[in-house]
């Protein structure tokens, strides 16, 4: 199974990058860390380039909306994976609702392109420096960001749910 411990990663990062990073392991066996926004790109670039750690695989990018978490409404979650070390690392950053801006990872991972577009499409998070940041799944004309908690799920035009055919 996993060949890296969290202490090793912490040590390696503070040795080479200079800035300390605290990693916690959750009960399901994945390393978690939350970093400030400005460190993100540098950290991921280091994780990618480093031969020992080798986080060369970006598994996933997604965002989460916490409307009650004032000032840090959005969390952007990156799942990185090091295939050689069989280790997964979850990096989280928080951005505010007023200025949801995150640096893009498309320069490092080609796969980040669509994942970021999807995140933009759903949450309206701006990925700075993205080559083609536009909606991907929804229609271009859409103005809202549907995965935000306040956006309703149901199609407002559904007829057969509340109409005469049903006794609601």
């Amino acid at each position: 199974m996993r060949t890296l411990t969290k202490e090793q990663i912490e040590q390696h990062i503070s040795d080479h990058l200079g800035s300390p990073l605290s990693i916690t392991e959750d009960e399901y066996g994945i390393f978690n860390t939350t970093v400030p926004l400005k460190q993100l790109y540098q950290l991921i670039l280091f994780l990618f380039k480093d031969e020992v750690l080798g986080f060369q695989f970006l598994t996933d990018i997604c965002a989460v909306h916490y409307p009650d978490n004032k000032g840090n409404e959005f969390a952007v979650v990156y799942h990185l994976q090091s295939m050689q070390n069989k280790t997964r690392l979850r990096i989280k950053i928080f951005v505010p609702l007023e200025k949801p801006e995150v640096p893009t990872l498309t320069g490092i991972y080609a796969s980040a392109n669509w994942m970021e577009r999807e995140t933009y499409d759903f949450f309206g998070i701006q990925f700075l420096g993205h080559p083609n940041l536009k909606r991907i799944l929804n229609m271009d004309e859409m103005s809202a960001f549907p995965m935000r908690k306040e956006y309703p799920l149901e199609d407002p035009t559904r007829e057969d749910k509340a109409d005469f055919q049903f006794g609601r």
Partner: protein
């Protein structure tokens, strides 16, 4: 190109270069033609549907039915669990109190005055059957919802859902 080995279970699919016989097309062509020709004389697997029916398993999830108990009274007690469990929100019901003298019609003290399933919404997932605590709703294993011309035909009310009275 490098083959990266992560586990011991790797099995490399080496590619044999084409032999001369493969290069001249014809042997492979004749082999293929022999295979297809052998199927010409095989027994056909087709089921001529409207005349012949394919046997279906005992647990197949087909059209719903509202069961009666052994005395011919409706089992449904309008608890609403099926409507709650339905991921498509296709079930609606209105509960009513059983009046005196209706014991033969309804088993419980409450019954569904209106019970409607929108078959166009329904996805036949079987969750309603699983949710029912009174063994009232069942998905039949040999009847499927028939296609029809009008949208309105697919609102199945109690007239089409409730099991007909047992013929004595």
């Amino acid at each position: 190109m490098a083959i990266i080995k992560l586990t011991s279970r790797i099995k490399v699919m080496e590619r044999k270069p084409m032999s001369f016989m493969e290069r001249i097309y014809l042997p492979a062509v004749f082999k293929g033609m022999a295979i297809t020709l052998s199927h010409l004389f095989k027994k056909k697997t087709t089921i001529s549907y409207p005349e012949q029916k394919r046997p279906m398993s005992d647990v197949f999830r087909g059209l719903h039915i509202l069961k009666r108990d052994e005395n011919g009274a409706e089992r449904c007690t309008a608890c609403g669990l099926c409507a709650l469990a339905c991921p498509a929100e296709a079930i609606t019901m209105t509960a009513a109190e059983r009046k005196a003298g209706e014991q033969l019609l309804y088993r419980e003290e409450k019954y569904a005055a209106v019970y409607e399933i929108n078959m166009l919404r329904c996805i036949f997932c079987g969750l309603c059957e699983e949710a029912c605590p009174k063994a009232a709703i069942f998905l039949q294993n040999d009847v499927m919802a028939p296609p029809s011309f009008e949208r309105g035909d697919f609102i199945y009310g109690k007239d089409r859902l409730v099991e007909p009275f047992p013929q004595i």
